[in-house]
Amino acid sequence: MSKVVENWLYSKEHEWVEVLGENRVRVGITDFAQNQLGDLVFVEIPQVGDEVTADETMGTVESVKAVSDLFSPVSGKVVEVNGELEDSPEVINSDAYGQGWMIVIELSNPDELSGLLTAGQYAAFVEEE
């Protein structure tokens, strides 16, 4: 069973979204996703200042023998990135909801949040997968 954090939001592409207030959200991949991917060896995420669009690719995560796209759950501007991931992508495996966070986005369209899944909905969605 993979973990979810109550009160956070989730996308069907297995990203989590933590609302930080003031139109800002923190984004990462879920515990389920890191488990499916296995040991991560490299992460490519946007840079501060980049614009991201909901449901479009914003980077990639690589395990030894697979590479997967990251899809942005929301649209907006990247205002903070987790620099630690460049050297230590393994923190996503060990702490997907904490140290393994990826970027902070300043939302351009906060309404998009309502289209995301709740923790309960996401848990049910993962169950089906």
Partner: protein, 506 residues
């Protein structure tokens, strides 16, 4: 496999003052290098290449060879790779000075022997595949794929048609969609039916005015002949698409059926598989392509042609896609395969495929009681087993493969094709004797018993190789892709100071 101590790198054997070369003294009056080149162009720091004696060098590479296995070492049933015996006479011929020491740009009249080899090989591959013309230029199967797709693209464009989609079954090798992408086309994937054939309903839905081609491996990567090939050809051609033959599995059909007769318009061959070009530890190979007359105008240039009794290179092909590889293809490899075709003739080649298929069916039926068959039907030159049963007992196909190493075998191909769970693809080839196959079958049966009785011995395999399982995760996370003398010395110093070094980044 010899001792299992760490093997030093050749750089670590280096000692200033040792040499393993012998160049003649300069016999012309010398000038100062800085009178030839401005000082800023002269190399400041020499490249840190090793300094070893000739015996050191031979011992080093001999020890490396002892840490490797080839077909001459052991049975190598690596599915889809056709690891058949590599005849020694091929190697001898490739080393004749008249073939090894010739330059691609010397005058055609001084290359008549080499051009004849290429011309005759082209002609004979046309006959073997049922195609109208062959180009020997592509350096490998993947390059052949891309070349053929570029030709297909040029063909459709020449007719004013905008066809951009290439249909690829889900059993295809990952290279197919990659080749499609680098040819600027897009892949449409279709699934297979429960017999491992192309799902015809999906194919009918997938074809249309955008269809450029269907790429098909036949026999498929499951080792199964596509029974509906006639219908498939009809569907693709009626939609205006081209039918592409991925020749990875040609070893099953020599003299039995030909891509041209099955309705294929273009084909690539892996000469290092079917025709004994040695695999060389990963290359060089050769990936000629053959095509029907509609595609001939688009073949790469130059072509080798025969005018009367003279062979020459023809560059005058106005609609050619151009050149895909320098010079005329991997001549040295093509020559070896031509020697092989000569050693077999029509009778031998047919026997090759008959016996490759007989061997595969024999092994498949012998192993069927112990491992699950992915598809329970007659196979061609290879077959796919599934380790589902073993997985339930906690042993993965990877573990079984590693356990085979302890018995001195190269394992089969594993985890490909992607559509079969825990799969293991076995291709014995025709050059293996019944005794060799029987011994290997016994070992696989023994391992199946170990899985039931003592799974740990399989899970922890290999036990006898020079290294145990390697840490691929760290290799990819913190890549160390080269040796660095300075860093290495620094690391040694740090270690002396009892400080553990965390590894050297590139």
């Amino acid at each position: 496999m010899g001792n299992n101590k760490e093997k030093e790198l050749i750089f670590e054997m280096s000692k200033k003052g040792r040499v393993a070369y012998s160049l003649s003294e300069c016999d012309v009056p010398e000038v100062a290098l800085d009178s030839v080149f401005p000082a800023e162009y002269l190399r400041q720091t020499p490249a840190e290449l090793p300094e070893v004696s000739e015996l050191d060098l031979m011992r080093h590479y001999t020890e490396l060879s002892n840490r490797n296995i080839g077909i001459d070492t052991t049975f190598y049933p690596l599915g889809s790779c056709t690891m058949k015996y590599n005849p020694k006479i091929n190697e001898d011929v490739a080393r004749y000075a008249g073939f090894a020491k010739i330059h691609p740009y010397q005058a055609e009249e001084t290359l008549q022997g080499a051009l004849q080899v290429l011309y005759d090989l082209q002609t004979e591959l046309c006959e073997i595949t049922g195609m109208d013309e062959v180009s020997l230029q592509p350096a490998a199967g993947a390059q052949g794929e891309w070349t053929a797709l570029m030709m297909i693209r040029a063909y459709h464009e020449s007719r004013g048609e905008n066809r951009t989609q290439v249909i690829v079954p889900d059993t295809a090798h990952g290279t197919n969609p990659a080749s499609v992408a680098v040819a600027g086309l897009e892949t449409v994937t279709i699934s297979s039916d429960d017999q491992g054939n192309v799902n015809l309903d999906e194919l009918r839905k997938a074809v249309g005015p955008k269809t450029a081609a269907l790429m098909l491996t036949n026999p498929s990567t499951l080792g199964l002949f596509e029974e509906n090939i006639v219908e498939i050809a009809k569907i693709v051609h009626e939609a205006g698409g081209m039918l592409y033959y991925d020749g990875a599995n040609t070893n099953a059909i020599l003299g039995i059926t030909r891509p041209g007769d099955m309705g294929f318009d273009v084909v690539h061959l892996n000469m290092h598989k079917t025709f004994t070009g040695p695999h060389g530890g990963g290359g060089p190979g050769a990936g000629p392509i053959g095509c029907k007359k509609e595609l001939v105008p688009f073949l790469p240039r130059p072509k080798v042609v025969k005018d009367g009794e003279t062979y020459r290179l023809d560059y005058d092909i106005p609609q050619s896609i151009g050149r895909v590889k320098a010079y005329y293809g991997n001549f040295g490899i093509l020559l070896r395969t031509f020697v092989y075709i000569r050693a077999n003739g029509p009778v031998g080649l047919r026997r090759v495929s008959e016996e490759a298929v007989l061997n595969a069916n024999y092994m498949m039926r012998k192993l069927a009681p112990y491992y699950d068959l992915a598809y329970d039907r007659v196979c061609k030159h290879e077959f796919v087993l599934s380790g589902r049963r073993q997985k339930k007992l906690g042993v993965r196909t990877l573990d079984i493969a590693k356990r085979l190493l302890d018995f001195g075998y190269h394992p089969p191909t594993i985890y490909f094709p992607l559509i079969v769970d825990e799969c293991m693809m076995i291709e014995p080839t025709e050059t293996e004797s019944k005794e060799t196959m029987d011994k290997f079958i016994d070992v696989l049966i023994e391992i199946a018993k170990e899985v039931e009785e003592n799974p740990a011995i399989v899970q922890e395999a290999p036990h006898t190789t020079v290294v145990s399982r390697l840490d691929e995760v760290t290799a990819a996370r913190k890549p160390v892709l080269r040796y660095r003398k300075a860093l290495q010395e620094q690391a040694a110093l740090q270690e002396e100071g009892s400080k553990v070094n965390e590894g050297v980044n590139v």
